[in-house]
Amino acid sequence: MATTPPAKAATTSKKIEKASEAKSPLFSTALFVGWLIPGAGHLLSRRWVRGGLLFAAIGLMFILGLLMQGKLYTPNPSDPLVFLGFIGDLGSGLLYMGGRLFGAGQTPVQVVTADYGTKFIVVAGLLNVIAAVDAHNIKIGRKS
């Protein structure tokens, strides 16, 4: 029996999905490294320009957030909003850990831009998570 084109396409799609699942390990180096250092996951796949741009964009956003006297959240499960802020901040990986280590983002709010700074820091973390997942997708061949 001859295979019709839609059936062929469905078979090919299933094959790609299976191959993608087979290649997708539980622990991904690109995902982990990309989370620790913004853009580093792309450098592992030799995407130099993309990695550099991601490092610059996310790193600058985080640093400008700190310079605006933004706050670095600390884990506090009793306050859900603060805890969500902490999860967002944690997305920045080593930037967040370095900031906490050097006591940055802990000063009392003195300027109106401090709130923008806090949002810059949280969004930098969330963007870094997107970048790390993208690096993982490139590594396993789901994206070029």
Binding site: L54, A57, M61, M68, V133, D134
Partner: protein, 60 residues
């Protein structure tokens, strides 16, 4: 050292950084990345300008 931008400068910086990451991560080809990044940037800044005018008109 501190940095105290105006609200609009903060919007431009936010839009620039977020658009860069969106462009790189949401498209496959460099040309499509640049186009999508520019599209996101215009949407971010445009939405803020439209929202600002709406609030100004409501207040009047």
């Amino acid at each position: 050292m501190t940095f105290a931008p105006s609200h609009f400068t903060a919007v431009l910086l936010f839009a620039l950084f977020a658009s860069t990451v969106f462009g790189i991560t949401q498209r496959n080809e460099p040309r499509a990345m640049m186009r999508y990044g520019a599209y996101c940037f215009v949407l971010f800044v445009g939405a803020v300008i439209v929202g600002s005018w709406l609030m100004f008109l409501i207040r009047r």
